[in-house]
Symmetry: C2
Subunit: 239 residues, 2 copies
DNA sequence: CATTGATTGAAACGTGTGTTTGAATCGGTT
DNA sequence: AACCGATTCAAACACACGTTTCAATCAATG
């Protein structure tokens, strides 16, 4: 009789997961309380223990149930096949990533939880990294490598991909700073499209310049020595 | 008789601030306990209340006492005057920012606390943003505006500066991801220098391309309409 | 040495938390 | 109807935490 929110969802499990996801994203795992979650979901406190074991189990269920839905809803390639030019695929990748993170019409709490996992990884981080981040990053790396004209496993490709991702993530991770420095502009679809256009243009120019400069060698001494150290972590280098 | 760490610091205040900073950075404000902090500092629990009022006061003292020291120790311009070319100043800015965040020989917990403040601002965020972030961002914005050939208050300059900062912050905020995707490489001085060189090169190429494309107008319809909306937040636009 | 204010010490307090309990209720099956 | 497993409920439990208390100790001053 006391369903406060999430009334559109049937079943205590589904309501709990939905409400808990928002609460974990807003407050963080430690500051989010199971009492507040259950009250918002209109569910008894014991339901957490009964359905998910404990608070950590509920958190695990939130993350694991959502990142696959996000991936299915907005595939990173946006339906573009590999026959399209790499420049176009890069633009779609950037726009998709920004929309998935910033568009306020989405259940955007997944990206916020991921931002928290970055600064303080929990037990779900490894799986999230392997199943969600790594495949998309590999796809992006292939695109930038094609534009640069270097191998996808080269140091240059890795760092160039990092640069593209970094530009996008900034608007999510540092949203509080952006809103304080340039206040008043929300993240509606048009604003996100403007950001995507800028990031794409800036990245494309940088990548093309790297192609002209040559993939390796022609960039000074530090660069070559740098590459040798880059892959010194484990024997096989990369998966 | 029981000083566990930070014995080199005299005075309970100094020991508390130092230990608490590391603890807040590692665990976060909620997960860090005053008991653990005081035990590590070799200080009685009541000292927190006596010297700082409460846990939040200790946190405030940590942040406010450190970001000014960081700024004094590594000025963002690196001693370069405005007579040097903008390209050189950009490289120094990027290298300084990366070293301050990544170099493991520094008391690097300030950057980690700032990353936490991004995803979950507390009461110290506004002051930190105004006194620490905004001045450095304004300096960077001036540099990139000079390279682009646009006004420092233009949308292009803001977003270009965001792109530069985003590339740098990625290595700090997403360190866990970087270490899982390319494991084994630490952030010693040489590695940081390599990253700085890449970010500088990629950014410079992007900025130069924007100058050639023209500051405004010549880039399609969305760009101009975009600018009108960018500064619609408050009347004066910017400080 | 005696006095006084500042600081430290050990212990306890109150509160909010995640978790558990055991009875009550529901939904389907025999 | 009677039964039974699954689920829900109100209440309580156990614990860790931030905070407070008040006596003990220290350092300077007369």
């Amino acid at each position: 009789m006391a369903d406060r929110e999430a009334e559109h969802l049937v079943g205590t499990r589904a309501r709990l997961v939905e409400v808990a996801g928002e609460e974990f994203a807003r407050r963080g795992f430690a500051d989010a309380t199971v009492r507040a979650i259950c009250e918002r979901a209109g569910v008894n406190i014991a339901a957490v223990n009964y359905h998910f074991g404990d608070k950590a189990g509920l958190y695990r269920a939130c993350v694991q149930s959502k990142y696959e839905k996000s991936l299915a809803h907005r595939p990173p390639e946006g339906g573009l096949g590999p026959e399209r030019p790499a420049e176009e695929r890069l633009g779609v990748f950037i726009a998709t990533m920004l929309e998935r993170m910033l568009d306020s019409s989405e259940p955007a709490w997944l990206a916020r939880i991921m931002a928290r996992e970055m600064v303080q990884p929990t037990e779900v981080f490894d799986e999230m990294c392997d199943h969600f981040i790594r495949p998309q990053f590999a796809m992006l790396r292939g695109i930038v490598a094609e534009i640069i004209g270097a191998e996808a496993e080269s140091v240059t490709a890795y760092r160039a991909a990092y640069s593209v991702v970094g530009q996008c993530l900034f608007y999510k991770h540092c949203r509080a700073v952006v809103e304080r420095i340039t206040p008043g502009q929300g993240y509606d679809l048009a604003a996100v499209a403007g950001i995507a256009e800028h990031v794409t243009r800036m990245s494309l120019a940088g990548l093309r310049a790297m192609r002209e400069a040559g993939a390796d060698g022609a960039a000074g001494d530090a660069w070559a020595a740098d590459k040798a150290r880059f892959f010194s972590g484990d024997g096989r280098g990369m998966s």
